[in-house]
Symmetry: C2
Subunit: 274 residues, 2 copies
């Protein structure tokens, strides 16, 4: 996964050159937000939705959102003639003097990175496990894709077995929230159920699209608190994120599933919409 | 608070030069720990305790702790002949490819910063307020001084009134944990009470010293869950951190305190121990 191209505050950068100043608040406090996007057929899939979520994060943390015209310009500088890849964008609050208090007029730092396109998503299903690491609850930070990600880092350090693609995470109260890099959906009695993310988790772009697809397909949906035990009892389980799309879960510990009809229908719908 | 000197991975750096690589996990995830220390009389106050807490953080996050001899060498390069100042040290997990999973053999990034000595601490007392921002609970992250600090950033954005020095923070369950940059102590019926920090907060070096002083002085102490209402009912309230030492709280909303005898005794004890 070597980096193809990188842009910092509007300048193309060489990967072996340092670009960040030592007083960047992203480095000191994780004081920033990020987006991970799929570049395919020469454009970013669901760009508007990524832009909206970024705005949610900027509003919540009071970080100045860059002008859209600037973002579009930098995106085209980053990708040039490339048609496919993975894009990561980080927006930190910027530089400041020592101390937690955010300066009134910080100038955000913008880092764009372009990586090679991902391998084929596992449409025939993935194996997942439970993580021991719990997600903390904080309504003020829930939903946004901020850069305080030690919980995910610790969760992913729990296993090295490459046969296990993902780990399901509970919050500190024992509710199911998501996987480490994906949101999670269950099919429970013909209804599509996903955690409501009031206290933890990230309002995923692919999660949002899947809920929209379900509405279009007249599939009933519920965003609610989900207990861990419900996973095992579910008819179908699948994970979603912006890069991998929809991935069916076919194994969790001793439990096996086949790829279910609702999951298949949603994968087809995503394929048509992409 | 302009920076006096700065060192990155063993090299003295100019403050206007970028030093961090774009793939540093400190910037992407807040994947690191830090220490803030007081340099006085030509040495770091309670250096051994800072070193021990750093070890706690490295062990918990599985970050390679640098050799002590290297740290001492860099500390002397940073401070040179200076006798007083504030030192911030950040240890990030280092650089990696894209993704939360920590690499097995990351080489940590070391940033040292030296700032001018702080102004006089407020031995005659400070005014504090309540923060609306809550601290989340996570036993896996509680106690260590990690770089996921958005909760503190958001709390300090709540007020600009310079007459208010600090803000008290509750966790999401309503228990008192700390102030934004300080730990908190109450005197309740001749007993020194401080939150036990099982689920949130930072095991402060000055908090530890104050508990040791209390033991030496045969003052009874309790580390336990503390309800918000107990603050108002307390005979004395004071805050602690490594830079400011012990600061009595003399005002919180409509409540006033004078600087109490136990707080005074502990301030004198710290003065002798420094």
């Amino acid at each position: 996964m070597s980096i193809l191209s990188s842009l910092f505050n509007g300048q193309l950068i060489a990967s072996d050159k340092p670009v960040l100043h030592a007083d960047d608040r992203g480095f000191h406090y994780g004081d920033g937000i990020f987006e991970t996007m799929l570049l395919q057929h020469g454009r970013v899939r669901f760009l508007e939705d990524h832009w909206q979520r970024m705005k949610l994060g900027c509003d919540r943390l009071n970080i100045l959102q860059p002008e859209r015209v600037l973002m579009d310009h930098e995106l085209s500088m980053l990708t040039r003639d490339r048609a496919a890849g993975v894009i990561k964008f980080i927006l930190s609050r910027g530089r400041s003097e020592r101390g937690y208090r955010p300066p009134a007029k910080a100038i955000p730092s913008r880092l764009w990175q372009l990586f090679p396109e991902p391998g084929q998503s596992a449409h025939d299903g993935i194996t997942v496990r439970w993580c021991n690491t719990r997600l903390s609850r904080n309504p003020g930070l829930a939903g946004i894709k901020h850069c305080n990600r030690l919980e995910q880092v610790m969760a992913l350090a729990e296993w090295q077995d490459t046969n296990i693609t993902e780990g399901l995470m509970l919050d500190t109260e024992g509710e199911l929230i998501s996987a480490t890099m994906n949101n999670v959906f269950l099919v429970v009695e013909e209804t599509l159920v996903t955690p409501n993310l009031r206290y933890s988790g990230i309002q995923g772009v692919m999660r949002k699209k899947v809920l929209q697809f379900a509405d279009q397909l007249a599939i009933p949906t519920e965003q609610r608190a989900v207990r861990a035990e419900e996973v095992i009892a579910a008819q179908e389980v699948f994970l979603t994120n912006s890069i991998r799309g929809i991935q069916p879960v076919i194994r969790l510990d001793q439990q096996n599933w086949s790829v279910g009809p609702l999951t298949t229908l949603l994968m087809q719908t995503l394929e048509s919409a992409s």
